[in-house]
C-alpha cells in the first residue's frame, strides 16, 4: 500500500513540476510578497514623514500683529493674507492648505477634511495654543500676577513606552495574510489538474484500471497537492522574512523595532503553514474531484478561495485575538495564530488545538474523497 502511494505521488510530482502553470502558481505568487512589504512600507513612510511645506500654507483674512507673526513663524506657518473670498478661491486652487477668518475674538478655521488638512489643522491648533498662552500671560502680568504661578500650575511628563509599532504590526500581519492567500491559490491549480483535469484528459480511466486502491490514489494525489502548497508557503515565509529585514533597515517607521522573527516563531510559522497546506489541499481535491472538467472545477473552487480569505480578513480588520475556541475554527485559526506568532505571543495549547482539529478535518475530507473514488460516479458522473 505504501509503495503504491509513493508510486502515485512520484507520478503526480513529475507531472506537477513539468507543468508550467502549476510551477507558475507555486513560485510566482510568493514573489509578490517583497513587493507588498516594501511597497506598503514606502507608502506608510511617505505619509508619516510628510514635509511641513506640503501643509503649512495658511491664509489669514485679518492683519496680524507682530507677536502673531512671530508665533506663526516659530511654529512653521507660512502666512498668506487676503480677503475671505480671495482665500476661499486660493484654497480651491490648492494654493493654501487652510484659511482662518476672525470676527472679534472668534477665530474660525476653514477647510475640507483630507490628509493635508489634518496636518494643517494640527499646525494651526499649535499656533492658537501658543498665541492663547501669550495672551493669558500678558493679561496676568497686567494684573500683577506671575504667569508662572498660573500657567504652569501643574506639570505633565510623558513616559509612555512604545511597546508596539503600528506599522510593523500592520505590515507583518498583512504579509502573513498574503502567505495564506498564496498557499490557497497554489493548492487550487494542482488540485484541479490532478482530479478534474485528469478526468478530462482521459487518464483517470487508465489510473483506475491499475491494481491500486482508491485510498492509495487519493493519498498520493493529496500529498502532491499539499507539497505544492507547502513549497509556496515556505518560499513565501522566507521571502517575507527577507523583505521584513530589508524594510527594517530601509524605513524610519521601523526604527525602534526588530521585524526579524525569532527562531521559535519561525518554526511555529512553518507548523501553521504545514497545517494550512494540508487542509486547503484536502478541500480543493474534495471539491475538484466532483467536477467533470478543469473549467468546471475552477469555477467550483472560486467560492472556497473567497471563503479561505474572508475569516482571515475579518480577524485582521477587527483585531480579533486568538482563544482556545477560535483555535479550532478552520481558516480563522491560521490567521490568528500567525498574528500571535509574529507578535511573539506563542500559545502552545492553541497551536496544538489548531493542529489536532485540522488533522481531524483532513481525515474526514480524505474519507469522503476515497468514497467518491470508490464510486464509479467519479469517472462517469
Amino acid at each position: 500500500m505504501k509503495n503504491n502511494i509513493w508510486n502515485i505521488l512520484k507520478k503526480e510530482i513529475r507531472e506537477m513540476f513539468r507543468d508550467k502553470k502549476s510551477l507558475t502558481m507555486m513560485l510566482i505568487l510568493p514573489l509578490m510578497i517583497p513587493l507588498l512589504v516594501i511597497g506598503m512600507s514606502a507608502l506608510f513612510e511617505a505619509q508619516t514623514n510628510k514635509s511641513a511645506s506640503e501643509y503649512n500654507h495658511i491664509g489669514f483674512d485679518y492683519k496680524m500683529s507682530a507677536v502673531e507673526k512671530d508665533i506663526a513663524e516659530k511654529v512653521g506657518i507660512k502666512v498668506i493674507h487676503g480677503e475671505k473670498d480671495q482665500l476661499r478661491e486660493k484654497y480651491k486652487r490648492d494654493e493654501i492648505d487652510l484659511y482662518i477668518t476672525r470676527e472679534g475674538n472668534k477665530y474660525t478655521i476653514h477647510g475640507e477634511k483630507n490628509d493635508t488638512t489634518i496636518y494643517a489643522t494640527a499646525l494651526v491648533e499649535t499656533y492658537f495654543s501658543s498665541y492663547k498662552e501669550y495672551l493669558q500671560s500678558e493679561y496676568l502680568v497686567n494684573h500683577h500676577v506671575s504667569p508662572e504661578d498660573v500657567v504652569n500650575i501643574i506639570s505633565v511628563d510623558q513616559k509612555v513606552i512604545e511597546t508596539e509599532n503600528f506599522f510593523a504590526n500592520y505590515i507583518t500581519n498583512y504579509a502573513f495574510l498574503f502567505i495564506v492567500m498564496a498557499i490557497t491559490v497554489s493548492a487550487t491549480y494542482p488540485a484541479t489538474d490532478t482530479t478534474a483535469g485528469e478526468k478530462e484528459r482521459g487518464t483517470l480511466e487508465t489510473l483506475l484500471t491499475f491494481p491500486v486502491k482508491s485510498r492509495d490514489i487519493i493519498v498520493g494525489k493529496f500529498l502532491s497537492v499539499s507539497l505544492s502548497s507547502f513549497i509556496t508557503g515556505i518560499i513565501s515565509l522566507v521571502l517575507t522574512m527577507i523583505s521584513l529585514v530589508i524594510a527594517n533597515d530601509m524605513f524610519k517607521i521601523y526604527e525602534k523595532v526588530n521585524l526579524m522573527l525569532p527562531l521559535e516563531s519561525f518554526v511555529f510559522a512553518i507548523v501553521v503553514i504545514i497545517a494550512y497546506s494540508l487542509l486547503i489541499s484536502g478541500l480543493c481535491i474534495a471539491i475538484a474531484s466532483t467536477c467533470k472538467t478543469f473549467k468546471e472545477a475552477q469555477s467550483a473552487l472560486t467560492p472556497l478561495t473567497f471563503l479561505s480569505f474572508f475569516p482571515s480578513f475579518i480577524a485582521f480588520m477587527t483585531n480579533l485575538e486568538s482563544s482556545t475556541l477560535l483555535s479550532m475554527i478552520p481558516f480563522l485559526n491560521f490567521t490568528l495564530l500567525f498574528t500571535d506568532i509574529t507578535s511573539g505571543n506563542i500559545n502552545y495549547l492553541n497551536i496544538l488545538l489548531m493542529f489536532i482539529s485540522t488533522i481531524i478535518i483532513i481525515i474526514v475530507i480524505l474519507f469522503i474523497i476515497i468514497k467518491q473514488y470508490k464510486s464509479e460516479k467519479v469517472l462517469f458522473n
Partner: protein, 252 residues
C-alpha cells in the same frame, strides 16, 4: 478462464421533462473466454459494449451478475485480478508529461514486477515494439502511432493473462490499427485471453475465434464467425448482424 454470468448494469438518466429514468446498458450478458482465445464483442454504438468491458475490467461495478477470473472474483480479489488484466480503449489516454521509460517504470512498480527484472523488461518491450529511439522522450512529443505503441507497451509490461481492448483501433490510421491487430495476434499465440470490442465487423471476422453480438444490452448471437454466417445464411458478419437485428425487431 474468464467467466461472465448474467451481468447487468443499470444507469439512471433524465428525460426531457427532467424526470429520472432507469435503463439497463447491459441486461443479462453471459459468456466464457478461455486461454488463447480472442472473443470479439460486436455491436453498434450504444449497444453496451463499453459498459460490459468496463465491468469486466473492474472500472464499473455491475448492478448484478458475476465476473470471475479463474477462481477469483472482483468482490474479494479486485486488486489481484487487476494485476492480471491489461485494459486499453480508444478513450484510454496516457500521461503526456512522462517519458515512455518513466511510464513503463511506473507501471512495473504498480503491477509489482520484480525490481531486478524491471530494466530488462522495459528494454525487451522497447525492442519488440521498436521504441528505443523515443524511449526517453516525453509522450507529448510522440506521434499518434508512437503513442499507440507506448499504450500497447503499457499493457504488455506486466505480462498480463487477460487483455480487454475496447474499440482500440477506433480513430486510428491504417498503420496504427495494424500495430494493434498484430499485437493481438502475437498475444493470442502466447496463450493470452483477449476480449476485443469493435464495430468494425470485418476486423473482428479476421482475428476473433468467437464473436458475441450485442444489441441494446443483450446478446443476440454468439459463436464462431463461420457458425454465425452459416446460421444466418450470410457471407459476412456485417450482413449477419443486420439480419439478426431485423429478426430481433420483428420478434418485438
Amino acid at each position: 478462464m474468464l467467466q461472465v454470468s448474467d451481468l447487468k448494469k443499470k444507469f439512471v438518466k433524465y428525460n426531457s421533462k427532467r424526470e429520472k429514468e432507469e435503463f439497463y446498458a447491459d441486461n443479462g450478458i453471459s459468456f466464457q473466454a478461455k486461454e488463447g482465445e480472442i472473443i470479439g464483442i460486436l455491436g453498434p454504438n450504444g449497444a453496451g459494449k463499453t459498459t460490459l468491458l468496463r465491468m469486466v475490467a473492474g472500472i464499473l461495478e455491475p448492478t448484478s451478475g458475476t465476473i470471475s477470473y479463474g477462481n477469483l472474483s472482483f468482490e474479494t480479489n479486485g486488486i489481484e485480478i487487476k494485476k492480471d488484466i491489461a485494459y486499453l480503449s480508444g478513450n484510454t489516454k496516457i500521461y503526456q508529461s512522462l517519458s515512455t521509460y518513466e511510464l513503463l517504470k511506473m507501471c512495473c512498480d504498480i503491477y509489482g514486477v520484480d525490481k531486478g527484472l524491471i530494466e530488462t523488461r522495459i528494454q525487451e518491450i522497447a525492442t519488440i515494439l521498436e521504441m528505443n529511439s523515443f524511449l526517453y522522450n516525453r509522450i507529448e512529443n510522440l506521434s499518434t502511432g508512437q503513442t499507440q505503441r507506448v499504450n500497447i507497451a503499457r499493457c504488455l509490461i506486466h505480462d498480463p493473462k487477460y487483455y480487454i481492448l475496447d474499440e482500440a483501433t477506433t480513430g486510428l490510421d491504417i498503420i496504427s490499427s495494424q500495430i494493434i491487430l498484430n499485437f493481438i495476434k502475437e498475444e493470442k499465440k502466447r496463450g493470452k485471453t483477449i476480449l476485443y470490442s469493435t464495430h468494425y465487423m470485418e476486423e473482428a471476422e479476421n482475428i476473433c475465434d468467437r464473436v458475441i453480438m450485442v444489441n441494446k444490452g443483450i446478446v443476440i448471437k454468439e459463436g464462431t464467425p463461420a457458425y454465425i454466417k452459416k446460421d444466418t445464411n450470410t457471407t459476412n458478419l456485417r450482413d449477419a448482424f443486420f439480419q439478426l437485428i431485423g429478426d430481433e425487431n420483428n420478434e418485438k
